[in-house]
Symmetry: C2
Subunit: 376 residues, 2 copies
Amino acid sequence: MKYELQKTDSASKARAGKITTDHGEILTPIFMPVGTAGTVKAVHQRELENDIHAQIILGNTYHLYLRPGLDILERAGGLHKFNGWTKPILTDSGGYQVFSLKDIRKISEEGVKFQSHIDGSRHLFTPESVMDIQRVIGADIIMAFDECAPYPCDYNYAKKSMEMTHRWLKRCCDRFDATEGLYGYSQTLFPIVQGSVYKDLRIQSAEFIAGQNREGNAIGGLAVGEPAEKMYETIDYVNDILPQDKPRYLMGVGTPENILESIALGIDMFDCVMPTRNARNGMLFTTQGIINIRNEKWKDDYSPIDENLGGYTSTFYSKAYLRHLVKCDEILAAQVASIHNLTFYLWLVGQAREHILAGDFVEWKKVIVKKLMERL
Amino acid sequence: MKYELQKTDSASKARAGKITTDHGEILTPIFMPVGTAGTVKAVHQRELENDIHAQIILGNTYHLYLRPGLDILERAGGLHKFNGWTKPILTDSGGYQVFSLKDIRKISEEGVKFQSHIDGSRHLFTPESVMDIQRVIGADIIMAFDECAPYPCDYNYAKKSMEMTHRWLKRCCDRFDATEGLYGYSQTLFPIVQGSVYKDLRIQSAEFIAGQNREGNAIGGLAVGEPAEKMYETIDYVNDILPQDKPRYLMGVGTPENILESIALGIDMFDCVMPTRNARNGMLFTTQGIINIRNEKWKDDYSPIDENLGGYTSTFYSKAYLRHLVKCDEILAAQVASIHNLTFYLWLVGQAREHILAGDFVEWKKVIVKKLMERL
């Protein structure tokens, strides 16, 4: 993987860049649609490419490990071959998922023992096994196995958790560096900064992560319930430590506002289930503000979902028709709303990139954030 | 509406024809995907047109009347404008739906009182109101309000039901002929032959329906549980009575075999929920036979769903990937399987048409039916 820093904004820490992988280029800042089980819910692969203009999608190690399972993925030739997505893929490490299993998982220095949410079967994830699993899945960018501490989290727990995450990172790197990709293309490993909301821990973690000298770095354990200001503050000082010449990935974030503010703080990569999950609940992000399509007021609004966004889905279907689909629990409702919201998210980061390159990112952000977060 | 009979097969009663409506042409024999609530479940409108090559779709009066409701449809400018489908639409009369409400409907000479399956609200459908409703929905072809007798059904009930259906038809025709389309294009009314499985009743009904001299005719009350041989026998003598120079629509049928056998008996138009409903349950109709994609045997079959059928969906996605989606209850499973099955159904009637025109329909049917109905 290569990263080229193309421009840094003079009025903020926002950056425009280009990541090159064996599956193609990614222009940053970028949003990565979440494809948990190897499918971005309700969206065809060609729609991801042609309508949403996704450049990279995310898969979840935990889910893919359980279903379809590693044997099926390996014999397919990896996830790209299995689901037909030919552009870059990033996989998380499964850490977030197994920790959220709460009552059916046990953490030790070795790793995490957990039970499948599907059939209760017992499994063990270790830093080493998670590297091996992600080799089999074959994502272009794979993530270190970390503990994502809950919020709120007391200082001692946060410190111990962070230290274990650092020890696990060493084991991840050792295993990753001792192995090779299975399918003839390169993979790269991103380590993850943890430390909850404690500045000294976050700084210590950022320095440790930066010191590993991997090809990109991630910030985890944010957007887990802490105030947005706390999140921005943390990103700000962590990014002062993470190297300039490598992409920075903020995991699991967030609203359009979160994304623009984090771009201003020097983040390059985002993923979040919000555009697709909210779509399935009838919440639309549009260029004019936020729409709850279930509201009575849209029942006879025959105007396109979002004329300014453009594209088939957002201009072909009307608000009244989409509301009807949602009220009837029709599958097409999830399809239309998911494509629309993801198209919006990709438009958002694309616009941010253009304004960074044009030099007016901060002025643009000030105006657009208000508009985008307004409830229509 | 115009119907041109283009060719009648010499070895069977199969016909190739062309229906012309104000929303475009329909080449027959044709299959009409069912879009109950103004959406063919899990399928985008552009996919219906470009991938499935649908020429006409069906909407359900009962469902559309309840949701979104007539005010919303009328202010949209009719169903075409509401859902964006610009080609022909046919609506059923709601008869089948209200009769299937069993415990919450009451039939009288006037019409049918029923309760909504959604909120229990009380409604009355009469032959007149159903014509008015279908004027508002604005389908190109609308259906008479009939009683679809259950199976089995004793002779006396079948006779009385048929006689009432005939009286209702007169009222439908009177109302239809006394009104005009609301949106500047023509609509046409198809009457429906009933009479259960009783030959004398069916003949009496077919003669009555033929005598109305409408622009097309339908056969209802079949494929409701009677043996397939009984259905074919009924179609055979009914079609000897229904006029040659008008299209014949067999309502709610059926399997690929049912469709080909009925084409051989002179049917021109079909609709059925089977391709979409079965798709959502993981049952695929393919050019090689029937696949239950949930079966273990497909878990590592990385070949396309149906290479011979062609098209994006059936060639891009593998059987193993689709099986994975189905097992995970992913929305994309319904999308992929629905597009595939509908593409297959449109391919099937298109092939039938080509073989009718080429003069080898019966030979082709003999070979292909066996293959298509084989369980793989």
